[in-house]
Symmetry: C2
Subunit: 313 residues, 2 copies
């Protein structure tokens, strides 16, 4: 992807001397692997709260040092990633703050940016550059085993820098993400939370909800739902298999945007319901025709495959 | 998959002497291709209403004879498939009825069974065996080019035989579907329409709806929706790229089941909305945890892939 030489400084050293990963789930593990491949860190320090996760990360050889105490992991780190559920960002920031090196870049990968800024900012020491971020990449799998170096390739990473952010720090973090294969955009946190509300949070909510509706039917057995799921239902179960703690925190912390979008979704659904009840075929047809163009544009933008059924086997 | 010898009768001939396919879209084209592979028909007669579709089918070499008049295609056929949108089933049945051979099996692949029985039955001549069917298989692509011989492999085909259906005819149709690689279930039409309502119709409706909601937002541009669609939204656009005429007809013809299920979905969604508004984290977490099991069972039943992100590239 990237020439290794691009990611070393003049002295031939890696892009960052020491990077700390707080949290080694899908994203943390993928970051560790792409950092190795692209020579982005001289030393990778990994920290998890769970002993078994840390042991598994060690078995996989993801990092250079392993820590149960996040404060220990961030010592002397030039770049610190918070890869924990958004509800845990505040407490983790508070814990590591006294150990952060002056001049370090502190960033995160949380799916909500407003709440992370609210919860983390108060703990950030003078001289530490806090730049919130969010790579729009993932799978339905969780934990260190789920990570892979190609996760960020051709995906977008959104940074939501605060007013007065140090330009050099922003450039260094941008370069880091580009080296992972990602494209980088910047935007205000509030706009991020609305955009991701529609492209990610609402879809997950809807997916969780339809799986629940199906599971609770009295007249249709679970075995029937499973056998005939290739009719469309199975697609939703993938999103609904995502990490439950991560998603609980997303909905609790992006409440306003999600409720606003959910309100619009329900309005639109009521209109569809009415069109079905009154047999308004032309209205349904017009609405259904619109969607194909958006699908085509997503494929043209390299954000999904053109292969039928996602090319699944 | 199946030994060719299994699909020939004692005299070494194909399973059916002549099969007529009325409609050569995704399903009709796939039927033609699997019939060739498995030696299921001595002669395949194809009919479409559109001249350009018929020409394309001919270029692809799908059939042995090509007809713009469905009545002509069904002459002397032992097995006739109606592969048209469910709203067109009645008119097509009326058109072909006088040309059907006594003893022939007449079946269909429509996604709704109650309405097809209502619309087709009145036209079925004495001595013709009408056995409604529905293979739970498909992709988001349409037309003769979208078909492939493996479409039905390890998918379920549901037959909804009417009271007094000839047992031998039912056995022959069952054997046909098994030869395509499908599993076969039988159930009452009304139950089919409810089961497919939850496993297929409601998921498509929800997918069409969220794409519309996203397209109509003022604060988020379409370009943003497309760029960041890997957050989950892109999954929905696949279902929403399905054939608009087919789906219009499904909703118009399975109205009662869809409205009932949609009512339940909206109730559940209102409960979720309330849980988010009031910050009920435990309730959200419990609900989200349930879905993983259903996803796992779908994978164990061979109805989806375990590969992350459907294994898409």
């Amino acid at each position: 992807m990237n020439d290794v030489a691009d990611n070393t400084n003049a002295a031939g050293r890696p892009m960052f001397d020491k990077v700390a990963l707080i949290g080694l789930g899908l994203i943390g593990s993928s970051l560790a692997q792409v950092m190795r491949r692209e020579n982005l860190a001289g030393h990778i320090a990994g920290a998890t709260r769970s002993e078994s996760t840390l042991r598994r990360a060690e078995e996989l050889g993801l990092c250079d040092s392993y820590h149960l105490d996040a404060a220990e992991a961030v010592k002397d780190a030039d770049l610190v990633f918070l890869n924990v559920p958004v509800g845990a960002m505040g407490p983790v920031a508070e814990r590591i703050a006294p150990s952060l090196k002056p001049g370090a870049i502190l960033t995160d990968v949380g799916s909500v940016k407003g709440s992370v800024i609210r919860d983390v900012s108060p703990h950030v020491p003078e001289g530490v550059h806090f730049i919130p971020g969010h790579p729009i990449a993932g799978t339905e799998h969780s934990g260190p085993d789920a990570g892979f170096a190609e996760l960020f390739e051709n995906r977008w990473c959104i940074l939501t820098p605060l007013k007065g952010t140090d330009e050099e720090a922003l450039n260094r973090l941008t370069a880091f993400w580009k080296a992972t294969g990602a494209h980088v955009d910047t935007m205000p946190a509030e706009h991020h939370d609305l955009v991701l509300g529609i492209t990610s949070h609402l879809p997950h909510l809807i997916a969780y909800n339809i799986v629940a509706t199906a599971a609770d039917l009295e007249e249709v057995t679970e075995s029937e739902v499973i056998k005939y799921s290739a009719g469309g239902f199975r697609d939703f179960t993938r999103l609904a298999a995502s990490d439950p703690v991560m998603w609980r925190d997303v909905f609790l912390n992006n409440r306003e945007a999600v409720l606003e979008l959910l309100g619009r979704f329900m309005e639109d659904l009521s209109a569809l319901q009415r069109a079905i009840r009154w047999g308004e075929g032309e209205k349904l047809h017009e609405l259904f025709k619109r969607s194909r163009r958006i699908r085509r544009e997503i494929i043209e933008a390299g954000q999904d495959t053109a292969a039928p059924g996602f090319g699944r086997r």
